[in-house]
């Protein structure tokens, strides 16, 4: 299927024989998340530094231990939380899961974050960047060793809105995958501009018997075919 050529989605099989679709987060999303986490850590470290000034002889020890914990365990603590993501990852909308789609285990989270050191080599996370760019599932070394994967958090899809559209019987026999493509277009319709929707509908205009034509009316008829595929009949 064509979408598997384009998509980086990976499948994790459950004991029920269902393939769960995981959408690996790429370099850009993870870089933004890293940047946000870095800023958050900076603010926390600064606050702890200020607080340590008021602790007298104990202050330096507090700051050293606190900074050590912040540096190494900040991601572990948050990844083991309910969301499975550090604040930065949460904001970007990604999270860490095991390869099989389950929440990350303590051992795996510890492993992947220890190996950030190896990912940092030779400089500025060079190993991590190379590994993420080379792999379809965008894993860095830590993810490989810990059998974890960083994925986009699934979003609630918008419900299909085709209320005002009259069903149109297809002009040609449609295979299930063709029907799925038409309905998927209809599902995406609210997120597209009218012009782009017309362009895309024109590609599928054969299904409503309008091959070679384009325009809002053709679009309406193609969406009508989607309505038909959904089970509505005139």
């Amino acid at each position: 299927m064509a979408r598997h050529v384009l998509d980086t989605a990976v499948a994790a099989e459950t004991p029920e024989g269902i393939l769960l679709e995981l959408r690996p987060a790429g370099l850009a999303a993870r870089f933004y998340a890293f940047l946000l986490d870095w800023l958050i850590r900076l603010v926390i470290a600064y606050a702890a530094g200020l607080a340590s000034l008021f602790m007298g002889g104990f202050g330096a020890a507090f700051w050293l231990v606190f900074y050590f914990l912040l540096e190494w365990f900040y991601p572990v603590v948050f990844e083991l939380g309910r969301s499975g993501a550090t604040p930065g990852k949460s904001i970007v909308g990604i999270k860490v899961v095991m390869d099989n789609g389950l929440p990350v285990t303590p051992a795996a989270s510890f492993t992947r974050n220890l190996l950030r050191v190896a990912d940092f080599l030779p400089f500025m996370f060079g190993a991590a960047v190379v590994s993420m760019l080379l792999r379809r599932d965008s894993k860095r070394l830590g993810d490989l060793a810990a059998a974890t994967i960083v994925v986009h958090q699934p979003q609630r899809p918008p419900k299909l809105k085709l209320d005002g559209v009259a069903p149109v019987t297809p002009a040609v026999p449609l295979r299930p995958s063709d029907q799925a493509a038409i309905v998927a277009l209809a599902a995406r319709a609210p997120t597209l501009t009218a012009e782009r929707l017309d362009e895309l509908a024109a590609l599928a205009s054969a299904v409503s018997g309008d091959a070679g034509r384009a325009g809002p009316n053709v679009t309406r008829r193609v969406l009508g075919v989607a309505q038909w595929a959904m089970g509505k009949r005139a």
Partner: protein, 326 residues
């Protein structure tokens, strides 16, 4: 069956599952829940949703419907199959059984790592002892002078740098430096073991050079009585973290009958247990080093006695603990 009819038929079940999951995943506060979530109901609804998803896929139902079932089954799958072991019981199992067992299971790497630490230490120690100028090839003159001051007979607190105000400060330094080194020593092992070898040899050489230098300067008594006790925890821990790193590297070099990736995952899962133990040992080491080893008022003979006990306890723990536990 058309998608709309399919949806209408099962909508109620999906909604029920969604509501239950919202409660379990704490997306809605428990007070607002209509009923307390029951495990068997969630499991039953989850299996039904799996069937529906399989049907929806086989029949190429619209994407939004498949996406919804995808999300529903993914959430339920996480709730039903999650395994999170945290807490006192899991911690105790690591200490009482898993850590020493993991060390014994990888005894070959442990001995190799210990040799990589000890041999450079002895070689440089002897060299520097007979040719003190060699210390400058390992550290610069300022650092050498600083070490001399730290372990001088007149130091009020042994091993403390002039800048550090209290024993607590040294505790902080030991925690962040030593555990950081151990973590690096482990993690860099993924580069075919080279990183671990580097850290082991480097730290061994550094330790040996300083020991040789201070001995030659006649500061041996303060230095060795200082190092002896916490060394039982610290030196062993560094060797163990190196062993865990070597194991990672070896898993990539010689994966055996697994793929390299499987082999790495497997090795990481086993060796991270060693890193847990190493972390705990280094916390103990930091406390001992900061508050006991540094105490100038404790006579050397007492320190050597305590040190001997510590070495015996640590080695016996690694060699025997958890042998017969189920």
């Amino acid at each position: 069956m058309t998608p709309l009819r399919f949806e209408a038929l099962y909508e109620r079940e999906w909604q029920e599952l969604e509501e239950l999951l919202d409660v379990v995943l704490k997306r809605t506060p428990a007070k607002e829940a209509k009923q307390p979530p029951r495990g068997e109901r969630i499991a039953a609804l989850y299996r039904r949703a799996c069937e529906h998803l399989a049907l929806a896929r086989a029949r190429s139902y619209p994407a939004y419907l498949q996406d919804r079932l995808d999300r529903l089954t993914a959430d339920a799958h996480q709730v039903i199959y999650q395994q999170r072991e945290l807490g006192a019981a899991a911690l105790w199992r690591v200490v009482s059984r898993d850590f020493p067992r993991a060390v014994r299971a990888d005894a070959a790497y442990v001995f190799l790592a210990a040799a990589l630490l000890a041999v450079p230490a002895f070689v440089l120690g002897i060299l520097v002892h007979y040719e003190p100028g060699l210390i400058l090839s390992v550290v610069d003159a300022r650092t050498a002078a600083q070490f001399e001051q730290m372990y001088s007979m007149s130091a009020e607190s042994i091993g403390r740098t002039r800048e550090a105000g209290t024993d607590w400060t040294m505790f902080g330094i030991y925690i962040s430096n030593n555990i950081g080194i151990a973590f690096q020593c482990f993690a860099s092992g993924i580069a075919a073991g080279l990183g671990s070898i580097f850290f082991l040899v480097y730290n061994g050489a550094l330790f040996g050079a300083i020991a040789g230098y201070l001995t030659e300067r006649g500061l041996g008594p303060t230095f060795y009585s200082f190092v002896a006790t916490h060394g039982a925890f610290e030196l062993t821990a560094i060797a163990l973290s190196g062993a865990a790193g070597l194991k990672l590297g070896a898993s990539l070099l010689a994966p055996g009958r697994r793929t390299r990736r499987q082999s790495l995952v497997h090795a990481a899962r086993e060796s991270v247990v060693i890193v847990y133990g190493v972390t705990a040992m280094l916390v103990v080491a930091a406390a001992v080093e900061a508050f006991w080893s540094s105490a100038a008022w404790v006579p050397s003979s007492v320190k050597y006695g305590v040190a001997a006990v510590c070495w015996i306890v640590v080695l016996a723990y690694l060699a025997f603990q958890g042998r017969h536990a189920a």
